[in-house]
């Protein structure tokens, strides 16, 4: 079930009303309802993969008790087993064909013609997300940062809570589980904030990302025929498409969770207002980057074992993070580019520079320096997105080469072009980016309290109606979320 579907429009109010009016007598009842609703939500897409989800949930639940064993050696054994099991399942579904393909290529180059079996099943939606949920719990239990959950239903809710089930945010056991186990009462302010997040998330997804995607898809499908001007704007558009798509999804997830009394981890904190790559990664897909930081970067030694180890670890987590997104070299190169972009900040000890404040903290507009920093970061990120979006590395290289050569050969092509003709719809699509930039700028100090700083209630309601109307106009075209495939 998609958040931007009619099915979800019916599903959400039904579950909401049952949750607060019928199952509100006890915490256990509420959790059972959430679990059943979550499985229904997931099973709507695929029943066989629902069994996989339930199977992994049960296995991890029982493995946690073994990991809790006071004998360190035994505990370590069970942890290793559970990590292998979880990553093994992820690997089979997500990476098996990729590795087989690579082996095949390697064998062919050695003159060995082997025909290796290919797995002909789809990728279970959200598998990377719920496997990481489970791993965070198991590792935290091993580290004694989390006690085992006695109730399988509570654990099931933690892994499968429908707002975050298929595309995150990737929750932590010590953050979500206490909320699952605690009595929840309806909180008006929380529900209002949740509704606002849903509204803004739907706008970013349905109006902005889906509209832009049509232009981007059409240009990427025959990029060879387009000029540099169009390709550059298309790359910029994709930056906003993926942002609208994924942050829109996350906002809806956070908002929906709030309606049920849950606070999920923030996933996006206006990343395109970042002043360097390090800040970008503290604002983009925060739940994933912090997961890698806590469960990979720090165990590898983090930045405490000297500069060399720190650089090595940085490259590892960026490459793994890229690979997490999909079994394609494009994602690995994308991760590599970000690692290279991160490197100067790391070497100059500036990677912790913008940790406490947002851009233009006490002013309405950014300073010239901040503006320059933001543009510089955005340009870098946009170039990296070309690799993320392209179907293979060759395509991405050719795309960039086409831009560069076209500029060298026809340096005057940009003069007077905008507004005259727009055959590919790029200028028109850019208009959809404007409200995102404007509203994100207004909201930038608190990603969880959107619209709270709109001065009057009347103005807020006018905005709600206008945004709602736009969503209604664009709602009919159903399209999936980009991050579902990861």
């Amino acid at each position: 079930m998609l958040f931007n579907s009619f099915e979800f429009l019916i599903f959400l109010p039904i579950v909401f009303l049952l949750y607060w009016f019928v199952f509100n007598k006890s915490l256990k009842n509420q959790n059972i309802l959430i679990l059943v609703a979550s499985y229904f939500f997931y099973g709507w897409w695929s029943i066989p993969f629902l069994y996989l989800l339930i199977g992994i949930t049960i296995i991890d639940y029982y493995l946690a008790f073994e990991i809790e064993n006071p004998v360190i050696k035994t505990s370590k054994f069970w942890l290793a087993l559970s990590v292998i099991l979880n990553l093994g399942i992820l690997g089979i579904f997500k990476y098996y064909n990729f590795f087989i393909d690579q082996f095949q290529v390697g064998f062919n180059q050695l003159g060995i013609h082997a025909s290796l079996p290919i797995l002909k099943i789809g990728l279970p939606i959200g598998i990377s997300f719920y496997i990481f949920h489970g791993l965070s719990y198991l590792i935290d239990v091993y580290r004694k940062q989390q006690t085992t959950v006695k109730s399988l239903i509570d654990y099931g809710v933690f892994v499968s809570f429908f707002p975050l089930l298929v595309a995150g945010p990737i929750e932590r056991a010590n953050h979500l589980l206490p909320q699952v186990q605690k009595n929840r009462t309806f909180n008006y302010a929380q529900a209002v904030a949740g509704s606002r997040l849903i509204l803004w998330g739907l706008f970013k997804k349905v109006v902005v990302a889906d509209t832009i995607s049509k232009v981007v898809d059409s240009i990427y499908s025959n990029y060879q025929t387009h000029d540099a001007y169009t390709l550059i704007l298309c790359a910029v558009l994709f930056s906003f498409q993926i942002y609208g798509d994924f942050s829109g999804y996350s906002d809806i997830a956070l908002g929906t969770a709030k309606l049920f009394g849950f606070e999920l981890l923030s996933n996006f904190k206006f990343p395109y207002f970042s002043r360097n790559i390090a800040e970008f990664w503290r604002r983009w897909h925060v739940s994933l980057s912090s997961w890698f930081r806590d469960y990979l970067y720090i165990p590898l030694g983090g930045s405490k074992l000297g500069k060399y180890i720190s650089i090595r670890n940085t490259f590892i987590i960026f490459l793994v993070s890229g690979f997490w997104h999909g079994a394609n070299w494009t994602f690995i190169v994308w991760g590599l580019i970000h690692a290279l972009g991160f490197l100067p900040s790391l070497l100059l000890n500036r990677n912790r520079k913008f940790t406490t404040n947002v851009v233009a903290q006490n002013t309405i507009l950014p300073s010239i320096l901040e503006l320059f920093q933001m543009i510089q970061t955005f340009v870098f990120v946009t170039i990296a997105w070309i690799y993320f979006r392209a179907k293979d590395i060759e395509t991405a290289n050719q795309y960039i080469k086409k831009i560069i050569l076209s500029i060298i050969e026809q340096p005057n092509q940009f003069l007077g072009k905008p507004g005259i003709t727009d055959p590919n719809g790029v200028i028109n699509a850019l208009w959809y980016v404007v409200p995102v930039i404007v509203f994100d700028w207004i909201f930038r100090k608190n990603e969880r309290e959107l619209f709270a700083n709109i001065p009057t209630q009347t103005l807020r309601w006018i905005l709600y109606f206008i945004i709602g109307l736009f969503i209604a106009f664009y709602f009919g075209t159903k399209s999936s979320f980009i991050y579902f495939q990861f």
């Binding site: 309806f186 008006y188 109606f465 209604a472 106009f473 075209t477």
Partner: protein, 336 residues
């Protein structure tokens, strides 16, 4: 909680109202098919010059039948766009033309059934027959009829209603009329597409290049004849059952509309063109004696050439008139 639900309800009811209002005024509206009702009302009162039709033609026909319930006509015409010229312009008085584009067997059956349901009667009923009446259809627009009776399909249609800004705008600001009352001069003008008050039409004359292009395209594409690899006997039998049933209460004419000579010549070795001859023979052998047959798929038999055609599929009004009123190529019987 109540406060929250009240606010959400107010907010959502605004969109429900806007959606319902837009749906009500849109061409998607099945329950109160406003565009079709209005269109039928307008052309029933006056012959119209049509720039573009505002309603889907099956829905228009449905409303046309409803509007004429319990009425008696001299002729009722049921079939595809290839019979839509049969009407007052081609010499048929007191006619109701219920032709719809690309009509297949289900369309013909549905329309015939609707005429019975709404108690329309006539002296003579004219059906056309085409290759796509007796082979798997490449178009299934008949679903529009099913919608009138199938609630589930109707609900699905409503939920797939695309609430666009254009629809929204048009629900408040009526779009410009795309048809106008036609004077006699306008009707005579070959550049005008006319919808007559009896439901029949007069085609617009195409320029020579455009016409040649359309003929060539049809010769190459085969359009609705794509699947005519063989005659589906059960479909043919169903068609004959319909004719038999219709001939119990009125005279029946089966019209076999010809195809463009170029189509026949260019594709003479194609099985689908060869099947046309076979179907012609079948019709003559199997049609009940009570029904009369006019026309032939083969234009050569009818001595027709390019000037008799509007495009690859449709003969012009003059030829329709000639075929029905002056000559009969099978059975030597005149219609009038």
């Amino acid at each position: 909680m109540k406060h929250f639900l009240r606010k959400i309800a107010i907010y959502l009811s605004f969109f429900c109202f806007i959606s319902c209002y837009t749906y009500y005024n849109s061409k998607h509206n099945l329950l109160w098919d406003k565009p079709a009702i209005q269109f039928v009302r307008d052309f029933s009162q006056n012959d119209l010059i049509i720039k573009s039709e505002i309603a889907e033609d099956r829905r228009t026909v449905y409303q046309l039948i409803k509007r004429n319930r319990n009425k008696h006509f001299k002729y009722i015409v049921i079939g595809s766009s290839r019979v839509m010229q049969i009407g007052k312009f081609t010499g048929f008085e007191n006619t109701l033309n219920l032709g719809v584009s690309a009509a297949n067997l289900i369309d013909i059956q549905s329309i015939y059934q609707l005429t019975k349901d709404f108690h329309l009667s006539c002296d003579t009923i004219i059906f056309d027959i085409n290759p796509w009446t007796v082979c798997p259809s490449i178009e299934n627009r008949y679903e529009q009829f099913i919608l009138t009776k199938n609630i589930q399909k109707a609900i699905s249609d409503i939920t797939h209603f695309n609430f666009t800004f254009e629809e929204f705008k048009e629900s408040f600001i009526p779009s410009k009329k795309t048809y106008f009352k036609a004077s006699e001069t306008a009707i005579a003008n070959p550049n005008n597409f006319i919808r007559f008050s009896d439901g029949s039409i007069k085609q617009k004359t195409l320029g020579p290049n455009l016409k040649a292009g359309r003929v060539d395209f049809f010769c190459k594409d085969f359009y609705l004849l794509k699947n005519f690899q063989k005659i589906n006997e059960s479909q043919f039998k169903e068609y004959l059952n319909l004719v038999t049933d219709a001939s119990k209460n009125q005279n029946v004419i089966i019209f076999i509309p010809p195809f463009h000579p170029k189509f026949q010549v260019k594709n003479k070795n194609d099985i689908r063109v060869q099947n046309l001859t076979l179907l012609n023979d079948f019709i003559h052998q199997s049609t009940p004696k009570t029904a009369r047959i006019v026309g032939n798929f083969n234009p050569e038999t009818l001595h027709l050439n390019d000037s008799n055609f509007v495009d690859g599929l449709h003969i012009n009004e003059f030829t329709v008139s000639q075929l029905f009123h002056k000559q009969s190529f099978y059975g030597n019987k005149k219609v009038n």
